[in-house]
Symmetry: C2
Subunit: 300 residues, 2 copies
């Protein structure tokens, strides 16, 4: 194994991912665990980290660069938000966290906040940093679909403004825990139903709460199939998001950073609106962002 020069970490709510990095920025090995923020008390983070990496630590201290929820108030140590407009944070503004084990030097990257309208992100700013690092000429909008989808205006290497939508969480709650769970399948899809629902919701977004119950009623009365209901539910929720995020995507190029399951429907819907979409792999962007953040270490 090549020598581990530093360690990149994405510490989310439910999972933690670790990459052992060489001096020239290559991934030596990727590792992961399920001890996310939700499963850890403040004093549990160091041991959880060491459990993933202690076998590769030598005598000298190794920098560990962390993005994500580990920097939240309920995380390992609070890394205060940077405020827009700003470049996605690097180690120069990171929270330096003391550890009992001297073999690690832990830095937690700041999230980004916006005053008005109030908004926050933790983790996505590092993916955006990766986008800026790998596409330095990109000037436009980033969309990061997920539990809490983020839209961000980027310009000259900075996040200018951003907005979060609870679309992914609404989809999960409605499809798994509401009365719609009887009508919405857990898999399967219908392209036409999705497209129609996006158009419906964009055209008359205020009808969303009625359209949602309509899925149930159509299943009871009209035999709406579960896979079609699933695509329609997704289309309704993405449709109202696109109606509200129009100032972000209209006339713009959109870099779409997300796993296939969440990003594919966004690509379909945006393409139907004539928006040019640049798909970027979310893990690649996280890693590129952590690499860019780490690159400033010799300046502090």
């Amino acid at each position: 194994m090549a020598a581990v020069a530093w360690i990149a970490v994405d510490w989310g709510t439910t999972h933690v991912r670790v990459w052992l990095m060489s001096a020239d920025g290559q991934v030596i090995e990727a590792r992961s665990g399920d001890r996310g923020m939700g499963a850890l008390a403040q004093d549990g983070y160091e041991l959880a980290l060491l459990a993933l990496i202690s076998d590769v630590l030598g005598h000298g201290p190794v920098p560990v660069i962390i993005c994500g929820m580990a920097g939240a108030k309920q995380g390992w140590a609070e890394a205060p938000y940077a405020s827009v407009p700003c470049a996605p944070p690097d180690v120069s503004s990171a929270k330096r966290v003391p550890t009992q084990d001297a073999r690690v030097q832990v830095y937690i990257l700041s999230g980004v906040s916006q005053r008005n309208p109030a908004d926050v992100m933790r983790g996505e700013e590092t993916q955006i940093k990766g986008l800026i690092a790998t596409q330095p000429d990109f000037d436009g909008v980033a969309c990061l679909p997920g539990t809490h989808t983020k839209w961000a205006h980027l310009s000259a290497g900075e996040i200018v403004s951003f907005q979060t939508f609870m679309t992914g969480e609404l989809f999960a709650l409605l499809s798994l825990q509401s009365v719609l769970r009887h009508s919405v399948a857990t898999e399967g899809w219908d392209d036409a139903a999705f497209a129609t629902a996006v158009d419906d919701a964009m055209g008359r977004p205020q009808t969303i709460a009625a359209k949602l119950f309509g899925l149930r009623a159509n299943a009871l009365l009209g035999g709406l199939e579960g896979a079609e209901a699933r695509a329609r539910l997704s289309g309704l929720l993405i449709g109202i998001e696109l109606a509200a995020s129009r100032p972000y995507w209209l006339g713009q190029q959109v870099a779409l950073i997300g796993a296939a399951a969440s990003a594919d429907p966004y690509e379909t819907a945006l393409t139907a609106q004539g928006v040019p979409v640049l798909r970027m792999d979310p893990t690649d962007m996280t890693l590129a962002g952590l690499r860019a953040a780490y690159s400033k270490l010799d300046q502090i």
Copy 2:
């Protein structure tokens, strides 16, 4: 105790309520249990009913008039929907359910459905029947706030059209199970926050998914209090409902049938829009509706 001439039953998803009725339509006694549709298999209904009433049964058969989810496909016996436009169903179209115990004659009232847009109700139609029975001159719109809020156009004793909104269920899911549970109190209220949120949502309904996350961000960044967040969440959801239900309430008198906790915010929001509101007690309406449905028994 006066003689029990018939028995009125409201059999919902989570509870069952029973009223022992005299020949002149007075309530002799009210009883209730927690064996709703969700807790019963088809063959469990008769015993669950008898457990509540067997002590008052004599030799002759007693009519039992049931409204609500007992008539659903997953209930005691399916009572097919009546289609709008129609008067709220009475016993003449009820499902007569055979019982092993000859001391009861069970009738389950039909729900009401609508073909386009597809919609269904089970239980609310009987409250509407109660409204029509007690306010025979009422011509306007009924609003029944709840888990699945119903709006219904009434004319000449019939339900002309109706629409269901998942507002109550969305409020419960978002306030108790989403990321907002960290920011939204389980009680408390703020009138001004509610009013502002209703206006925001009615004016720009498409922004709902962003406004929802805004509650979380404002709690993190701006110290938004839990009670204010609760009122704002309610206002946002009722606001988008009022934006979509405008064709129902605009220029109309609205009979509002619901428990205080769910109906009070609707009254506040509708009154702010200049809509005259007639408050009706939901239990009184259920009972009046069952009484009106029972009154047709001698005609079958």
